[in-house]
């Protein structure tokens, strides 16, 4: 009976220990996105993240972000930011563009410490913010091997 209680407590504790950081990083992610948006509500849509859903090597992951926009003087994307949920830092990269970009597409290569959610947020010249979230599975994590 005692051993059962102890086991139960241990499992419960393990659950708490594992879940708390996940929630904390999710809050940090929301805070980082809110800081980028500057108080404007972030809506889903217009942004498209192109990334492999199953990543074999987290050290270099190609990612492309496209935003539906005419990229004219009257309607263009001012900034695109990529955020992650479970790396040591929430920011990945911020890109600043304008009507002279012609196309609202940027591509880079990033590191992913573990399987996690990625969020791309686009800020338009009218102040509105749009985002997309993708879930990525990583088999070999970055940052573990020296």
């Amino acid at each position: 009976m005692k051993r059962r209680e102890l086991l139960g407590a241990a499992i419960g504790l393990a659950g708490v220990v594992q879940w708390r950081p996940a929630n904390a990083t999710a809050e940090e992610l929301a805070a980082a996105i809110a800081a980028f948006a500057g108080g404007v509500p972030v809506r889903n849509g217009r942004v498209e993240i192109d990334i492999a859903p199953l990543v074999e090597n987290g050290n270099t992951v190609p990612i492309t972000v496209r935003v539906q926009s005419a990229m004219s003087e009257a309607d263009h994307v001012k900034a695109i930011a990529i955020f992650n949920e479970s790396n040591p830092q929430r920011d990945v990269a911020n890109f600043y563009l304008g009507p002279r970009a012609g196309r609202a597409t940027v591509a880079t290569r990033i590191r992913l410490a573990t399987s996690q959610n990625l969020v791309a947020v686009a800020k338009m010249n009218d102040g509105s913010c749009w985002s997309q979230t993708v879930d990525v599975l990583v088999t070999l994590a970055a940052c573990v091997e020296p």
Binding site: P88, Y96, L97, R103, V106, I110
Partner: protein, 106 residues
């Protein structure tokens, strides 16, 4: 001087969208990773990338530790007039690198 590559067409029609791909040799040391002796390796990052088209800023980026080593950045710009594009990377420990590529617009 480290090695930097800029891939883009040499000529374009006026109004065309030109795709530019840049790559630079840099470790992008995160400051979170232990080295051979177990001590954390000091942070050494490229923080900022800019592209000026005839001295007008057309694209810039802020990079964080989550950008992979040897940063690759691809973007596009509208060919407006013949001129030079200047690409600059700046980072920790006074790192700076500048590349220029000329573009002929017909």
């Amino acid at each position: 001087m480290t090695r930097a590559l800029v891939t883009m067409p040499a000529t374009a029609k006026r109004g065309d969208v030109v795709e530019i791909r840049t790559l630079i040799a840099h470790p992008m040391e995160t400051g979170y990773r232990p080295g051979e002796d177990g001590a954390v390796l000091p942070r050494n990052l490229i923080r900022r990338f800019t592209c000026h088209y005839d001295d007008v800023l057309v694209f810039s980026a802020e990079l964080f530790p989550a950008v992979a080593a040897n940063p690759f950045i691809a973007f596009s710009t509208v060919a407006t007039a013949s001129g030079t594009l200047r690409f600059s990377w700046t980072g920790d420990n006074g790192f700076t690198q500048t590349e220029t590529v000329s573009l002929t617009v017909t």
